[in-house]
């Protein structure tokens, strides 16, 4: 049985494949009086594409934020490329979950993307020509070059999400941390993101993506990590997506067969269940 249920040690094909880019050992994170992550130990190999799944409140965002060094750990440790997260900020490209943005600010699409450069440029230094080139490059990748001067607030939701994706790319990190990047976006944007992510995966970038969409995660990720405060399972897609694991994580009986005829029905169930949380 290659699926490692919670608490079990991490060895095997994944850890051996390449140097670990992220290493979490016994990570606990407390949010208020709630233990949001409990004893998470896992490694993400360089170049891996990991889908982070689990019901709402299972700690997906918390895990990403802990890796970014935003949240303090209650116990345990995190290493990014062998060092503490705080020293690895230049390695990340981060797309946070939507919700806290103040879209009323008078910012154009390119101003938002430029924010991703603030660390590389130095936040109190003037912009350089290089920064502008990278912003143009990032907007080109998300196919919004023609909207670069459009006010951010006047873009559609999907276009805004593409701008935020471009902002993450402008960070020029080798580790992409994406928090539900495709939530609520239009199909074209979704298609574009999948295509881009496949490209970055091919280039050897490390990707960790929190998502609700099991079908999509199964289709594009090579490893899945199932969270429910604890690590429920972590490993290659086909080994993780079993009835046992899903029912433990989601608390409902789910059948999942990758490539099955009607995954939409299954996902509808999962989504419905989650939104009720």
């Amino acid at each position: 049985m290659a699926v490692r249920l919670r608490g079990s040690p991490l060895h095997g094909p994944l850890a051996a494949a390449a140097a670990a880019e992220l290493r979490l050992s016994g990570v606990c994170v407390r949010l208020g009086d709630r233990l949001a992550l409990h004893d998470i130990s896992m490694e993400v190999a360089r170049g891996a594409f990991v889908g982070l799944i689990g019901p709402n409140g299972s700690g997906k965002s918390t895990l990403l934020r802990a890796v970014l060094g935003i949240l303090p750990l209650e116990s345990g440790s995190i290493e990014v490329a062998g060092g503490p997260p705080g020293e690895a900020r230049d390695r990340f490209a981060y797309l946070p979950q939507r919700g806290q943005l103040d879209v009323n600010l008078p910012l154009r699409a390119r101003d938002v993307v430029m924010m991703g450069r603030i660390r590389r440029t130095g936040w109190a230094r003037p912009l350089r020509g290089e920064d502008r080139q990278i912003v143009d490059w990032a907007l080109e990748l998300v196919r919004l070059s023609d909207r670069r001067n459009a006010p951010f607030r006047e873009l559609s939701f999907g276009q805004q999400q593409r701008v935020l994706f471009a902002r993450a790319l402008a960070q020029q990190g080798s580790i992409l941390l994406l928090d539900e990047p495709m939530n609520g976006v239009d199909p074209r944007t979704q298609e574009l993101f999948v295509e881009l992510l496949r490209g970055f995966h091919g280039e050897g970038k490390t990707i960790v993506m929190a998502t609700h969409d099991l079908t999509q995660a199964a289709a594009i990720c090579d490893n899945l990590c199932v969270l429910k405060q604890r690590l429920v399972a972590y490993g290659p897609v086909d080994e993780v997506l079993t009835e046992d694991v899903l029912s433990e994580a989601y608390g409902v009986h789910l059948h999942f067969r990758p490539g099955a005829a009607a995954p939409g029905h299954l996902l509808g169930d999962v989504h419905h269940h989650e939104s009720g949380d």
């Binding site: 900020r89 990340f92 946070p96 008078p106 910012l107 101003d111 873009l155 939701f157």
Partner: protein, 285 residues
């Protein structure tokens, strides 16, 4: 017609007042951009009121009003910043309690002064016609420095305002940037007190910036335009006050308010106002 413009300039106090009004208008307009974009209007009003006892004490002790105001202002800004770290009391409630109490203290203190009513009026509503050379140098140096620091940090301040999560992820010192902005706004408020007084000072920060926000869709232009509107309101308001023989501070703020009303009308006519009211919708769930 030309006399209308040149007559006031033959008086030295009027020349000084104009210089002060331009400096204060520009500095407040520039920093006001951040006040408006961060939604700090209430906090700014609280600071403006909370510095009042400091101003009164300095006034009664015959030392610089600026010093008294700055001391209480920095104290208030630190207190507000500290309050933001605890989640025990709602922040706005705590601020409300503190600033009303401080303001009352100021009123009680000034009531001990012999020229009570006149002094109170000049402190509450400003006395720009009484500014001295020293006042202007102080305003130019302190206000200019506050504006320069805000300009220097504008990209970081904007990122914190737009997306705090990303600012944290990028390792910006978010707490210190927020505290720093509060301190800059406080210094600018204290600088502006002399011109429009404790009660009206917030208008110098909020009204020009809100006016600029209606007209442009770019933070850089918004800052520039807001500073220009603030300075223009100072000059036009002073002239209006001179020729009507009405309160200078009030006239300056009323002028800014008229600019705002005109911009609102203009924006509405342009259709911008209405289009902006529409929010982007999710294309597909």
């Amino acid at each position: 017609m030309l006399d209308w413009l040149t007559d006031p300039l033959s008086f030295r106090f009027m020349r000084l007042a104009l210089a002060e009004a331009v400096i204060v208008g520009a500095v407040a307009g520039l920093l006001g951009t951040f006040v408006v974009l961060r939604g700090l209007a209430f906090v700014g009003d609280a600071i403006a009121h909370a510095v009042f006892p400091g101003v009164v004490i300095a006034f009664l002790a015959k030392v610089s009003i600026f010093l008294g105001g700055a001391a209480f202002g920095l104290l208030t800004a630190a207190a507000i910043s500290g309050l933001s770290l605890t989640r025990r009391i709602r922040e706005d409630t705590a601020i409300g309690v503190v600033f009303a109490g401080a303001f009352a203290l100021g009123v009680v203190l000034i009531s001990s002064s012999p020229g009570y009513t006149r002094d109170l009026t000049s402190l509450l509503f400003g006395d720009v016609l009484a500014v001295t050379d020293t006042d202007i140098y102080l305003s130019a140096i302190v206000g200019g420095a506050a504006a320069a620091v805000a300009l220097w940090l504008r990209r970081a301040l904007l990122l914190v305002a737009f997306d705090r999560e990303m600012a944290l992820a990028l390792g910006l010192p978010v707490f210190w940037l927020e505290t720093g902005l509060l301190l800059l706004v406080t210094l600018a408020i204290v600088v502006a007190l002399r011109t429009v007084g404790n009660v009206l000072v917030l208008a110098m920060f909020v009204t020009p910036a809100a006016t600029a926000r209606l007209l442009v869709e770019d933070v850089g232009w918004m800052m520039a335009l807001s500073a220009a509107i603030g300075a223009a309101a100072g000059v036009v308001g002073l002239y209006a006050s001179w020729h009507t023989d009405l309160a200078a501070g009030g006239m300056i703020v009323l002028t800014a308010t008229c600019f705002f009303a005109a911009a609102l009308l203009f924006a509405a006519l342009r259709g911008r106002f209405w289009r902006r009211a529409a929010t982007p919708t999710a294309e597909a769930a």
